[in-house]
Amino acid sequence: MKGFRYLQHVATLELNRAQCTGCGRCVEVCPHGVFAVAEGKARITDKNACMECGACAKNCAAAAILVDAGVGCASGLINEWFRERKMRGVGGNCCS
């Protein structure tokens, strides 16, 4: 995304090129231009731009994409941490 760059080398995005059918859905749904399709296969061209929204994996009919998608805000993660320990959260969810 122009003018913005978050932490590098952290995205969990993985593409299994052997499974890819080159349909191009990932290119259509990615808001950060992470993918490109060439010669019938998708390719990750800018992994560091990935925000792990999970749109590509969800829309991949060939199930060739893996990404750890989910709530990405601090208060949401703190709440998740509390929930995992069966404790009541303190704050709200970011998108509640």
């Binding site: 952290v10 929204c53 998108c95």
Partner: protein, 335 residues
Amino acid sequence: MPGFLGWRATAVGRVAEIATTLTFGDLLGRWKARWGIGRMSYLVPAGLYAVGTPTADDPVLVTANYKMSYDIVRQALSGRNAWLLVLETFGINVWCAAGKGTFGTDELVRRIGATGLARVVSHRRLILPILGAPGVAAHEVTRHTGFAVLYATIRATDLPEYLDNGMVTTQAMREQTFSFRERLALVPVEVVMAQKPTVVVCVVLFLAAAAAAGPVNALFVILAWFGAVLAGTVVTPLLLPVIPGPSFAFKGAVAGLAWSILWYLVAGGAGWGRATVGAAFLALPAVSAFYALNFTGSTPFTSRSGVKKEMRLAIPAMGCALLLAGGACLAGLFL
């Protein structure tokens, strides 16, 4: 029903016709939602709506039942004939609802069935917002309903161009932006969300500081804290691309440090004791950093893994800074 004009007869019975111009009440409602007033009950009924005088050949657009989403989409369809399929997302916008899965495959499939859409239109195409894709598996929708999913644009304001363009998405339409204006729109709700804990903390701080150093000094303490909250919730979002570092906590700490220096100069820091100076320069950046880190939840480019990584380092650092600041205050009192 906001924007209701009348009824339109279709193959499955009557469908509400809706206006594409927003009234003063709609704009006031949007302003209130931006400020967090009644935001969680700002919704419209899910279902199928008619924009203009649509026929069986006209396009079907899908959106969430957050009223702001519904308003922005119907406004973008001004002067056109189209069907608007509103999903039950419980008053949450498309992007957040997609993340939760309520703007999702199941709800879309269910809503297509419940509205009898297949009998209303003769084609089998649905136009969805790109930011709805994290919740919707297009191929599953097609498998269950026969409708093909077209991910059109990120912003509803690009819909007219998309529709005029023969439903072709240009590069610009699928490119996420986060302009000053877009960030400015998010600031009020950041401030409102921070309000409650800030009031509690300020009351406690005021009482403690008043007991130790008198009410005037206590007032200075809560003003300093309040400024740090604003540095994290207002200054950091607005100046986001200008403040150095990819880490939001770091950006917030920089804004908080700037505020500490400003406050030192404005509030007569030269006359403060060493402990007070130390406490201010530790606590204020930590508070600002916390709110800046929380802003990752409102941006369209921060990843979950990135936020996790930041938090592992930043939360203990903030905790230490606050403890040290508290320690410095106590030391200043007794030493």
